[in-house]
Subunit: 253 residues, 2 copies
């Protein structure tokens, strides 16, 4: 366990760690940590938008079958697989589809390829919060105030490393490094921060070569990608409360 080597405690600051994919998550000890789940393209970005537009709750569900059960209970439903919306549900994984006034006050059941799975993976952590560039600054302020260890869990692509989630993790490290300590697991922090500093002036261009980006380009969602890389357009704090995400911030539109 990486955290058995925790050093940060000696200085009285909580620790910040980065987990590159759910496949590495068992190397971390999340019991005393807030886990920030990041699936930048596009699940956690869309979740932030939905809360910014006033969704009351979002329940991460395993797949279409479970979403159908929630639909019967009056939930709105979002189901995405391989980057595409599944027929018969209200939303896919595009943040724009959640910019709908009709969402206000509603509960949503959501299943996406990587994002909701990562949320499930983290569910036993001290606390789970949703991260994206869209809520970057407010999330950092919130994390500073919690005074807890932080692990950013990159959702990745089918358990493997991806660049866009890593850039986001690096953005957090860059903003939080003075308020947190690194542990012995900090090589991922250092790498993520370096990559963020390399890419931050034009993340869109930086990601042009990346795998998930190319996969999504095939689906013609350039506009989504650009939006998901724009900081601070949805200042919300979606936290897991029981089996549902709710917005801890009072700034929803």
């Amino acid at each position: 366990m990486i955290n058995t080597h925790r050093m940060g405690d000696a200085h009285g600051k909580p620790l910040i760690e980065v987990c590159f994919s759910p496949a590495h998550y068992n190397l971390y000890d999340p019991k005393e940590s807030i886990v920030v789940v990041a699936d930048i393209l596009r699940a956690t970005s869309s979740i932030c938008v939905a809360f910014h537009y006033g969704a009351r709750s979002i329940i991460p569900v395993k797949g279409p079958e479970e979403a159908i059960e929630y639909k019967k209970l009056g939930y709105l439903t979002g189901v995405e697989r391989q980057g595409e919306k599944i027929e018969g549900f209200d939303f896919g994984n595009s943040p724009f589809s959640y910019m709908d006034p009709a969402i206000k006050g509603r509960d949503i059941a959501l299943s996406t390829t990587n994002g909701t799975r990562a949320i499930q993976t983290a569910k036993d952590a001290y606390k789970v919060v949703i991260g994206s560039f869209l809520n970057l600054d407010i999330l950092c302020e919130w994390l500073k105030n919690q005074n807890q260890h932080v692990i950013t869990l990159c959702a990745g692509w089918k358990n493997s490393f991806n660049l866009e989630d890593t850039l986001f993790a690096g953005a957090l490290v860059y903003r939080l490094r003075n308020h947190f300590d690194f542990s012995y697991g900090r090589d991922t922090c250092i790498a993520a921060e370096y990559l963020y500093l390399l890419g931050r002036n034009d993340m869109n261009k930086f990601l042009k070569e990346s795998s998930h980006r190319r996969r999504l380009e095939k689906l013609g969602i350039e506009k989504d990608i650009k939006f998901c890389l724009t900081p601070n357009t949805a200042p919300v704090i979606p936290v897991l409360d029981g089996n549902a995400l709710v917005n801890s911030s009072v700034l929803a539109v």
Copy 2:
């Protein structure tokens, strides 16, 4: 499986991939790939030195008990745990300890914390070869001539990502990128190459903050680290043949 999306084949070039740690290895399909195992500080560096000094074979073994059995058979033995040599064996994990003329023509049983475990992990690949900065150029030439897919398996630290193995993986990508294609798993390749390009002018300094480096500094092996980051001092090609590594190059001293 990342390789089900293989793109490179379309262009007739083999693929190059990077696996950040043994925990991700099951996402790759090594059956048609040469796996380059890298444990830069210090197992794969030491293996290269041992072959450069004329070792006949090196058998990766699980632990001290198995090493003792080989000792009874006349093998030299190297056993390291937590960075330190284990009492009663001939070598630890310092490359300098293998710079011994007495090693010439001898067989060695070797067990290290991360390196030999990574070799075991890769043993069913099409071919397994040992990589380090010490054999960087000759290894790249050899890989170009094999015309096979290549996966660099970073040994990491107890299954987690580390910077020094990633820098080495990036050095391979940088040198081989014109002869190979990236697959959909290429985000790790891109990240590794970026980190290598950032660090290559002074890798020693670049790694100063890294976790394993700090762990090793405590053991007072600055000299080892500097040596392990020096390219091309041990131009050998250690490949796995059955259960033993042998040198495929004819350039041993």
